[in-house]
C-alpha cells in the first residue's frame, strides 16, 4: 500500500514538473510543443495548428502568407496523427484563394480612396 502511494506521488510530482516547465516555455515565448509529454500531446498539437493562423489573418495580405501555409508547416505539426500532405496542400490552396479574393476586392473602385 505504501509502495503504491509512493509511486502515485512520484507520478504526480513528475506531472507538476512538466506543468512548470511548460509555463516557463510560455513565459519565454516558446511553444514547448517539442517537449510535450504523452498526456498533453493532443492539446499541444492544437497549439501548433494555431500558430500559422495569426500570421495568415490579415485578409489583404493573405497571399503574403501563401508560402508558409503551402509549406510543410502543417505537415510536421502533429506527429501523432501523421497528416496527409494532400490535406495541407489543399489547405494552402484555400488560403491562396482567399488572398486572390482579397486582392480583387481591394481593386474595386468602391474601395478606392479617391481619384
Amino acid at each position: 500500500m505504501r509502495h503504491q502511494v509512493s509511486v502515485t506521488t512520484r507520478l504526480a510530482a513528475t506531472l507538476l514538473l512538466v506543468g512548470i516547465a511548460a509555463v516557463g516555455c510560455a513565459g519565454h515565448g516558446g511553444t514547448g510543443t517539442d517537449q510535450s509529454a504523452g498526456a498533453g500531446q493532443a492539446q499541444t498539437s492544437q497549439v501548433d495548428q494555431m500558430s500559422p493562423t495569426p500570421s495568415a489573418s490579415p485578409s489583404d495580405g493573405a497571399m503574403d502568407s501563401a508560402t508558409p501555409s503551402d509549406s510543410a508547416a502543417g505537415q510536421g505539426a502533429n506527429p501523432a496523427a501523421t497528416p496527409d500532405p494532400l490535406d495541407s496542400q489543399l489547405s494552402g490552396l484555400d488560403n491562396l484563394l482567399n488572398g486572390i479574393n482579397s486582392s480583387i476586392s481591394s481593386s474595386d473602385p468602391g474601395s478606392a480612396g479617391g481619384e
Binding site: 502511494v5 502515485t8 506521488t9 507520478l11 504526480a12 510530482a13 513528475t14 506531472l15 507538476l16 512538466v18 506543468g19 512548470i20 511548460a22 509555463v23 516555455c25 510560455a26 515565448g29 511553444t31 514547448g32 498526456a39 498533453g40 492539446q43 499541444t44 492544437q46 497549439v47 494555431m50 500558430s51 495569426p54 500570421s55 490579415p58 489583404d60 495580405g61 497571399m63 503574403d64 502568407s65 501563401a66 508560402t67 503551402d70 500532405p85 494532400l86 496542400q89 489543399l90 494552402g92 490552396l93 484555400d94 491562396l96 484563394l97 488572398g99 486572390i100 479574393n101 486582392s103 480583387i104 481591394s106 481593386s107 474595386d108 473602385p109 478606392a112 480612396g113 479617391g114 481619384e115
Partner: protein
C-alpha cells in the same frame, strides 16, 4: 488521498500552462495598421479651402492630398515587396511605377509650395488626381496584377496536387478498384485550373501597360473592369478546382 490531491494539482498546473500558451499564441498577432489613406483624411483642409479660398488654405489642402497619396503608395509598395505570388518582373514594374508616381507627386508638391497664384494652385491641385491616378489606376494595377499572378502561382500548387492524386488513382487502379469517379474529379480540377490560367495569363502585361493619360482618355477604365471580371471568373474556376480535388481525395478514400 494525499496522492490524489497531488495528482489533481499537477494536472491543473499542466492544463493551466497549456491554456496560457494557447492564449499567448492567439494574442501574438495584433491588427494591422494602415496609413492616413482614406477619403476623409483631408476633409478639414478641403472644407477650409472651400470656405476661404486663399493660397494658404489651397496649399494645405493640396499638400494633405499629396501626403495621403504618399501613404497609399507606401502601403502599395509594401504589398508588392511582401507578395509571394508576384513574379519578379511584375514586382519590379510595379515598384518602378510606384516610385515614378511618388517622384512626380514630390515635384508637384514643390510646385504647390512655391505657387502664389490662386488659379495656378487650383490647377496644380487638380493635377494631383489627373496626372497620377493613384486610387483609380495605380492601386487597382497593384491589386489586380497581384491577383493575376496569384492565379498563375496557384497553377504550380495544383500541379503538385495533380501529381499526388494521379499517383493515388494509379495505385487504386492497380489494386483493382474502380477509379472512374476519382479520375473524373481530377480531370475537372485540371480543366478548371487551365481555364483560370487562360483568363489570368494575359492580364499582368495588359495592366502594367496602363497610364494615367489612358485613364483620363477613358481607355484604361474598361481594361481594369475587364481584368477584374476575368479574375472573378478565374477565382471561381479555382474554387471549383479545389472542390474537385477534395472530391477526388474523398472518392479515393471511399475506395479503401
Amino acid at each position: 488521498m494525499k496522492s490524489r490531491i497531488t495528482a489533481l494539482v499537477a494536472s491543473f498546473a499542466l492544463g493551466g500552462s497549456l491554456l496560457f500558451i494557447s492564449a499567448g499564441v492567439a494574442t501574438a498577432a495584433g491588427p494591422a495598421t494602415t496609413g492616413p489613406t482614406g477619403k476623409g483624411v483631408c476633409a478639414t483642409e478641403a472644407a477650409a479651402s472651400r470656405s476661404s479660398i486663399t493660397v494658404v488654405a489651397l496649399r494645405a489642402f493640396g499638400n494633405c492630398e499629396i501626403d495621403r497619396r504618399f501613404a497609399t503608395l507606401t502601403t502599395l509598395s509594401t504589398k508588392v515587396s511582401s507578395s509571394k505570388v508576384l513574379t519578379p518582373s511584375d514586382a519590379a514594374a510595379l515598384q518602378s511605377e510606384i516610385g515614378a508616381t511618388r517622384s512626380g507627386l514630390t515635384d508637384l508638391k514643390t510646385t504647390i509650395d512655391a505657387e502664389t497664384s490662386i488659379p495656378a494652385l487650383k490647377a496644380d491641385i487638380v493635377k494631383i488626381a489627373t496626372e497620377f491616378r493613384v486610387y483609380l489606376l495605380v492601386a487597382p494595377q497593384v491589386h489586380l496584377t497581384n491577383a493575376a499572378d496569384g492565379v498563375l502561382f496557384a497553377q504550380t500548387k495544383f500541379a503538385t496536387v495533380n501529381t499526388n492524386l494521379a499517383a493515388r488513382i494509379a495505385a487504386a487502379k492497380a489494386a483493382g478498384k474502380d477509379t472512374t469517379a476519382a479520375q473524373a474529379d481530377l480531370d475537372a480540377m485540371n480543366a478548371s485550373v487551365a481555364s483560370a490560367v487562360g483568363l489570368a495569363g494575359p492580364l499582368p502585361a495588359q495592366l502594367l501597360a496602363l497610364t494615367p493619360a489612358q485613364y483620363n482618355a477613358g481607355t484604361a477604365g474598361p481594361v481594369l473592369n475587364s481584368a477584374r471580371a476575368s479574375l472573378l471568373t478565374a477565382r471561381n474556376d479555382l474554387k471549383s478546382a479545389v472542390a474537385d480535388a477534395k472530391a477526388c481525395r474523398d472518392a479515393l478514400k471511399a475506395l479503401k
